[in-house]
Amino acid sequence: MLKTGVVQVIARGTDVAFVIDENAPFDVVAGELLDYLSKQSGLWSKGDITINVGQRMLDRDELAQIKSIIEANSGLTITRFWCSPESLGSGDLQIEAKPAKATAPPKSAPSRAKQPVAPPVAHNEVAIPEPASNTATESLSAVESIIESLKAKHNKNGARNRNITEALFIKSTFRSGESLHHHGDVVVLADVNPGAEIRADGDIVVLGSLKGFVHAGASGDNKAVIIALELPSARFQIGKYHGVAPTSARHKPKSSATGPQIAYVRSRSIHVAPFAGRFARYNKGVPYEG
């Protein structure tokens, strides 16, 4: 590992990652990056890389600067930008507001800028349509197009929003009349009582008895699931599908004897089965009337 202060270079096998100090201001990062690359100029040969800006919020100018610095000082070509949905979500709003200049606002959450050579394939990864050129103005427009396409992809599919926020933990009984909408997974460490209402863009896990109304995948993700230690709730929703507990005795889930239950969507209706792991194959479940 080479240490150059703000910019560190980590090599793992054939993968090389630039790790940039989370809290350093952008101009320092740019300076250090330039410094490092010019010192080590012989180290790089031609190749395509991806920039992972992590949770750092960068505006259009800054992305273009990073691109030009790296491309001018090494033989590398930046083909992709990768960023966490969080920095994209608020970051590109920032760009819309102040297109000309301004630095990224300091973020209280830990932020990080990375540049892995072989990044993991992530859902919000976007390939540059054309190989970018070296001049700053042209790369600027390339960056713009990346951001635009990222944004479009991001907004097009609501299910992609699932990872925007972390899971929310509710540590006390969720009572009648209480209502919540969270853009992520929700974990309740107690009961959800009748008359309570939880909507989550992700999964809902209740470590107690779920008697209220819950809606998992509220932004349209039909793959979301509801897991509860007891599931006496008569009605819930996953994505766009409604589930109403069957009234006929034949289908009636054996309540307490079965233990934890999972509700999921299978062939356009909600089914409930004894829980056997989040990614287990669930074939036989009690179908709920939609």
Binding site: S172, S176, G177, E178, D191, P194
Partner: protein, 272 residues
Amino acid sequence: MKGRTIVITSGKGGVGKTTATANIGTGLAMRGHRVVVVDTDIGLRNLDVIMGLENRIVYDLVNVIEGDCKLNQAMIADKHDYELYLIPAAQTRDKNSISPEQLREMCEELEKEFDYVLIDCPAGIEQGFKNATAAAQEAIIVTTPEVSAIRDADRVIGLLESSGLHRPKLIINRIAYEMVKHGDMMDQKDVESLLAVEVIGLVPADEHTVVAANRGIPVVHNSKSAAGGAFLRIAARVDGEEVPLMDLEPKTGLFSRFKGLVGMSGRAYSHA
């Protein structure tokens, strides 16, 4: 020493808030404390009737808050020989006549002089509820073992917790032992597990309660009644004494069994 202000609330009407207030207040007074009970059910006052003080009302809560009279002019002394006072609600006004801040101020005054300030909260979760709960540091929820009352209690507990009144205590009122035994009524454990709050008392269904209310003498004065005993124990628990919750099973002594045989025994629930 500064007194404690406790609100007695339920959400649903008719579950026994006023009865509980009168009886816990009387019970605490019997234990030698200085107690004042405040009826905040403006427009639908009842506490004065339960305590048998309706004929003595001159000034009321709204008069105090609007400055028409002094605080102690509106305080009606109980008929019995205890340090127990009632501040009645106004009957001709409505809940918007007072604000939460005004009631809070008044209770702070009362806390200087009394050990316990009990607030009888109106049913519902509107202005009257907001007034009553704003003034209190502690809350007692009254419910009956019926789904509707429990649902409302659940809502109220949520509202109390969100307004900073944490860990309310629960009284389960009107438990009919025979019905619980036959599975026709929820038992204490069902209610407790649903509401997930500490139970401070179980009050059996008891005809004596109704008779006492009609006579204007709270049932705690009746040493023979099961409900009276239950309210005395609740008062002791409010006071910080460790009194275990008792089973609702009726006495099965030889004499009562004999009475049962010859048809004399009515509803002889003993402990709660």
